[in-house]
Symmetry: C4
Subunit: 189 residues, 4 copies
Amino acid sequence: MQKNRLEAFSDGVIAIIITIMVLELKIPHGDSFDELKKLLPKFLSYVISFIYIAIYWNNHHHLIHTIKRVNAPIMWTNTHLLFWLSLVPFVTAWAGENNFSVLPVATYGVILFMTAVAYFILTKAIIFTHGDESVLGAAVGKDFKGKISVLLYAIAIPIAFFEPYISTGIYILVAIVWLIPDKRIEKKL
Amino acid sequence: MQKNRLEAFSDGVIAIIITIMVLELKIPHGDSFDELKKLLPKFLSYVISFIYIAIYWNNHHHLIHTIKRVNAPIMWTNTHLLFWLSLVPFVTAWAGENNFSVLPVATYGVILFMTAVAYFILTKAIIFTHGDESVLGAAVGKDFKGKISVLLYAIAIPIAFFEPYISTGIYILVAIVWLIPDKRIEKKL
Amino acid sequence: MQKNRLEAFSDGVIAIIITIMVLELKIPHGDSFDELKKLLPKFLSYVISFIYIAIYWNNHHHLIHTIKRVNAPIMWTNTHLLFWLSLVPFVTAWAGENNFSVLPVATYGVILFMTAVAYFILTKAIIFTHGDESVLGAAVGKDFKGKISVLLYAIAIPIAFFEPYISTGIYILVAIVWLIPDKRIEKKL
Amino acid sequence: MQKNRLEAFSDGVIAIIITIMVLELKIPHGDSFDELKKLLPKFLSYVISFIYIAIYWNNHHHLIHTIKRVNAPIMWTNTHLLFWLSLVPFVTAWAGENNFSVLPVATYGVILFMTAVAYFILTKAIIFTHGDESVLGAAVGKDFKGKISVLLYAIAIPIAFFEPYISTGIYILVAIVWLIPDKRIEKKL
């Protein structure tokens, strides 16, 4: 298994995920301003998910860049990450369709939580393969941002059953945190 | 015909197949828990097919890696494999939509059977081109896992007409068998 | 403009075209054998178009392989080819949905005709850029298969208004002719 | 971050955008000539958007070609451009569905305007990273075509509320202007 094939395949899947989401942004039945306004929650969920997928692509790219060799655990923990990412278009459409109501927002949180966990597992598989002394091992040793994200999603899911807008706010907050580039890996490299 | 173009094109088609399946996971009409629960069979068929496509991508990758030159038979037996793989999203959606009832499960089996046969034919075309003495020829000489899969699908199809759940169980079983990496090629290489 | 970017972009578009066609193969409303049987014309049009797109990918690959430099005329005649190819999923679905009736079959023929003409124009743009003395210029100098295809499509379109099945038969015939690999370019190379 | 990954990812997203638009070209309910004629506005909007996306792919390709290193601002201004491009299939379908009526045409203009602005910002991020003395800095120093396009879109949007056909004409006009290759960058290179 070559590293560049894994990278190309993952890039392909992520590029498709980020692009097919627009297919769920169904065109309004009429051409009035009211019809367009009704699209607002769908558009908002589209924007949030677009940013999330772009962040994952960016981070995933940095992560795979540190890899020297690919084995079965890396291949399958990567596939596991792509699986949860592939469900983002579904929860995006569902949350947007229902104006960020309770269950869609909670489910959105579950997918974000599982994706973050899958990313964490992939990181562990890479460190396990390359050793703690590797660039990545040293760089993500503490991984504060990753851990705080998982924690925030875990908090946002139960909150969704009382105030889904607060949960949505948490998802947006985590996205903003991630938009700030991860200097740790870059510095070590 | 260059090997890397064949690889890139196949990777692209497989990446699209694995990703567009989520478009068949239509969002529920409401936002209740009951609506979400109804999605369970569709979600299960999605998981099974996602794993199958990932396995094929992984195995296909190893297979093409052993190729030295591409000719018309390899090009067309590869296209033939992609054709049957491209029908997986269709049977996935149909089986999920109908709670794994008789005909959809049998059809799912037919597609898995034809895909496995197509993979077998592609292997033969490669060995024919490169010779039995090639790495691949020696490595997959007996191909126990490939043959047992085809046999199990062939058994699962008629069983579906009596107990589709048993057939579904067989498909899951074969997937698990394939998740165990094929050490033969790796060892020889 | 680098040749390999043009190749990668075209491969990407063609891979997506060949794969999204399956999204038009909508799952039946029930799970009976009768419902499955009704899919037969759609499945047939899917098979024909899948083979056509695969042939175009294969030929396009050989064609671009002969290119040394890319300029604006090659870029735009290539985009023009991709435009007509991108309409194949539409006519495939329409012909299948209407059991190969008059207008869908005639429109299918128009798209095949325009695609073949676009391929011819791309060939001319490449020869114009690289000179008649180039490998390609010599190899496709007479291009019997390309010319006969355009002619057959031009005949099949009016025939569709009387006997659409004959036109469909002509499309299948042309596909079979193209499945036989073009030895001319290969030999010269 | 490697330049070629950014290029491959962008190419992938643009290839998917240009291809999935055809999925919005829904097949007619019947097979009569009247049904086909009703598709004309949708087909026209498809053609315009296909050309626009192809132009952006071409220009984007030239732009990235001049880059020497990728940093966070380039990565994110590029993602920002892809975001607005990803909305083109939506406005294409909406404008086509409503025969180029007021609000869809105005919204189409807004997306074209934002895409052009996003392209401009990406150019600035690249020049900022590489310096005004760079090839790109010198080449696009005045960027007449980019500025006139943004201006024309800004004029076309309010016009759409009175005469949407004039606005549509302006979009077509800008596309034609861009079809003429940008000799400035090419010459400098």
